[in-house]
């Protein structure tokens, strides 16, 4: 059973389009995250939700909008895609608390042409 799953795995699209990435976890965790990994492999947090409430919102363009319909799902919607949005996007989840391990999904590889 996949603990943290993401769809799609690959996403190729044109500039200006709108796209969504979905994430689901079956670990029973309350907290979920989105991270972006750029072409140099650098990982940076974008958002975090705890029990459907946004608790971390880093300096991310407002074209990116996370949505958490329930605590097992955290989706990422991106409007007006730009070339610089090309990256790998990772979803993660954890139990609440700083000592808890974050479990990562397999990633969604987004390429904007």
């Amino acid at each position: 059973d996949t603990a943290v799953s993401q769809t799609p795995k690959y996403l190729v699209t044109q500039m200006g389009n709108d796209k969504s990435i979905k994430c689901e976890q079956n670990l029973g965790h309350d907290t979920m995250y989105w991270y972006k990994q750029d072409s140099k492999k650098f990982l940076k947090i974008m958002f975090s939700y705890n029990n459907k409430e946004l608790i971390i919102n880093e300096t991310v363009p407002n074209r990116f909008s996370p949505k958490s319909p329930d605590k097992a799902h955290l989706n990422l919607h991106i409007n007006s895609l730009e070339l610089g949005d090309s990256a790998v996007y990772f979803c993660a989840s954890s139990a609440p608390g700083g000592r808890e391990t974050q479990y990562f999904g397999p990633g969604t590889r987004l390429l904007v042409l």
């Binding site: 140099k40 650098f42 990982l43 609440p96 391990t101 990562f104």
Partner: protein
């Protein structure tokens, strides 16, 4: 400012040789420390973590790391590497009061050669 530095972007090593991947952090508050591994085209997998207690932490796949508070370091070691250890390794830190935010180092590419 709080930051994480991985001193080596690439580490080439021969199979069965020992390896150390270096990680330093900068913080004025207490920290939790993690090492993750990323195999090609895959997600991140936790190798080990330091929360408190013994400064020597053992993880999966024969890896271990030592927390050194005075040197603000958390170096990862393995006494004998395999070809299958070839991957990207990330040091990550949670700073106290940081809302569970993981701050990652830039990663170290471990390349094991036969």
């Amino acid at each position: 400012a709080q930051s994480v530095t991985q001193l080596d972007s690439q580490v080439p090593v021969f199979e069965e040789a020992p390896v150390e991947l270096r990680c330093n952090y900068s913080s004025s508050v207490s920290v939790y420390l993690f090492w993750y591994v990323q195999y090609p085209n895959q997600g991140l997998q936790l190798l080990l973590k330091y929360l408190s207690g013994s400064t020597l932490v053992k993880g999966i796949n024969g890896f271990e790391a030592e927390f050194n508070k005075s040197q603000t370091s958390f170096h990862l070691r393995k006494p004998s590497v395999h070809i299958s250890d070839t991957a990207e390794y990330f040091c990550a830190v949670k700073f106290s009061g940081g809302y569970n935010k993981l701050i990652f180092g830039a990663g170290t590419r471990l390349a094991v050669h036969p």
